[in-house]
Amino acid sequence: MKKRFVLNFALDAADEPITYVLIKEYDLKLNILKAAISPEKGGELLVELDGDDKNLSEGLDYLRGRGVGVDAVDKKMLFRREECIHCGACVATCFAGALTIGAPDWELKFDAEKCVACEMCLKSCPLKLFDLRFG
């Protein structure tokens, strides 16, 4: 099973190589999609984890045990759908394929499962209907 998570950790918690442990001990394929570290917010990692269900849930428990905040990405992307005018400007910048528009109804579709939280839609939506909440 493949899923995306936002990992939050305090800066002083970065002494353990958590990504190495996830790969080595829990046999998870790990893809870092985005990393940000700031003095105010600490560290934020957007990762995609792929592995069997048991390893995935144990790997996440390991992270929580190390004090790392774990949030599934689909809960993080906010989209004020009811205000959407279905122009398509966001689709131009969505290379994860989460935002699509086309025949027959030309209605904007948002598939949170495919979202990699690249934040391009935050810029490209002319009505500013997207928001991303980390942590």
């Binding site: 005018i85 279905h86 122009c87 398509g88 400007a89 966001c90 689709v91 131009a92 910048t93 290379f95 528009i101 086309g102 025949a103 109804d105 030309w106 209605e107 391009m120 810029k123 490209s124 002319p126 009505l127 500013k128």
Partner: protein
């Protein structure tokens, strides 16, 4: 026998509820099986529509006089500068005017909020004169409280428009949206076979005085729009291959519907306004039937490189290709996305049809046809420039 219909005959049928009114998409599909002559026999009116970002838009407002009054020389609405260089309590709020401290908020948003019936803060200053002694005012206005408020958009409903892409190595933030580097995406902005001026490319039925759907109200075409250009190259269907004719339109903002007008902001470009326009095209004869039957694949437009300040031409594409999701530019497959809402345009075409069918909207022949042989000039720089 060839079909000839007059505006009067069609209006009579609309009043009786016997007119056949189709949307431009419906009539285009019909053309797969019927000839223009057959379509002309069957169809009385075709509704066309568009809902896209149109920067050249704005509203005139007369606020009414406070007592004693002032000559409003500097005017802001929710902090957004409006133009006050007209009579004492008149102003024009342009769609692209921006709040100096919050450039993500501007005239387009103020106009949308006015349509919604929201309260807007008016601040105005004048120098103080014998007839208008007051110098400063702050108050709250709504569309109902002001005397008149009408949308007067100098350039809307472009007949065709460019496809924008970017060959540069950096992201370009434009009025055509966010263009990713090295031909990674392309945007387009007309409603194709549903678009008003593509369905009457010679402007036989659209001119000064044409009654239209404007943002949910009945408005009018009042003049050829700015940058009105009838000299663009045309394809074998007689459709201009790039942005050509435009319309200046006017309508009562008090009667508009917030579903069909939206303030917007394009990242690092600025504020604009999505405007909804619907235009009925009377099928007066076979020629017009052939015009409205146009399909997306028969409408071509030009691809330009917005990564280069001179916007050089990179090729062409038709709307069937653009709507498929990819086009080919310089041998590369480029992802496409619209900026103009097809879904909303369809809603407008339907709404206009229902007005026509209910006899609430009558067709008007142009009081004056638009000029032909017009071109657009550039601007020569004789002084300084940066």
């Amino acid at each position: 026998m060839t079909v000839k219909r007059s505006y009067e005959e069609i209006n009579e049928k609309l009043k009786k509820g016997t007119a056949v009114v189709l949307t431009a998409e419906e009539v285009s599909k019909m053309a797969d099986e019927m000839t223009p002559a057959e379509i002309a026999k069957k169809v009385d009116v075709v509704t066309t529509a568009t809902f896209g970002p149109m920067c050249s838009s704005g509203a005139f407002i007369n606020f009414g006089h406070p007592s004693p009054s002032l000559r409003m020389e500097e005017v802001t609405l929710n902090g957004v500068p409006a133009y006050g260089g007209i009579a004492a309590v008149d102003a024009y709020i342009g769609a692209t005017s921006e709040h100096p401290q919050n450039p993500r908020y501007g005239g387009g948003h103020v106009i949308e909020e006015l349509v919604r019936g929201k309260e807007i803060t008016l601040r105005a200053r004048g120098k103080g004169t014998d007839c208008y002694p007051r110098k400063e005012i702050e108050t709250v206005i709504t569309k109902e409280a002001v005397n008149e408020i009408f949308l007067f958009n100098p350039r809307n409903a472009y007949q065709n428009y460019a496809v924008a892409t970017n060959t540069a190595r950096s992201v370009k933030y434009t009025y055509m949206g966010v263009l990713l580097p090295e031909l990674s995406n392309a945007t387009y902005s007309t409603s194709g076979e549903l678009s008003p001026l593509l369905n009457d490319p010679d402007l036989r039925t659209i001119g000064v005085g044409t009654r239209i759907f404007l943002c949910g109200a009945q408005g009018f075409v009042v003049w050829p729009g700015t940058q009105f250009n009838t000299s663009k190259l045309r394809n074998d269907k007689g459709i201009p291959k790039s942005n050509a004719a435009t319309l200046a339109v006017l309508g009562d903002l008090k009667k508009m519907d917030p579903r069909f007008i939206k303030g917007a902001v394009f990242e690092r470009y600025g504020v604009t306004l999505f405007v909804g326009i619907g235009i009925p095209i009377p099928i007066l004869d076979e020629d017009l039937a052939a015009r409205v039957a146009i399909r997306d694949r028969e409408i071509e437009t030009t691809v330009y490189d917005y990564g280069d300040p001179a916007h050089p031409m990179l090729g062409s594409a038709n709307y069937a290709d653009l709507r498929s999701g990819t086009i080919e530019v310089r041998g590369r497959k480029v992802k496409t996305a619209p900026l103009s809402s097809i879904k909303k345009a369809r809603e407008i075409a339907e709404e206009l049809r229902s007005w026509l069918k209910k006899g609430e909207f009558t067709l008007t022949a142009p009081v004056e046809l638009f000029p032909t042989g017009t071109t657009v000039k550039g601007l020569e720089i004789t002084g300084g420039a940066r």
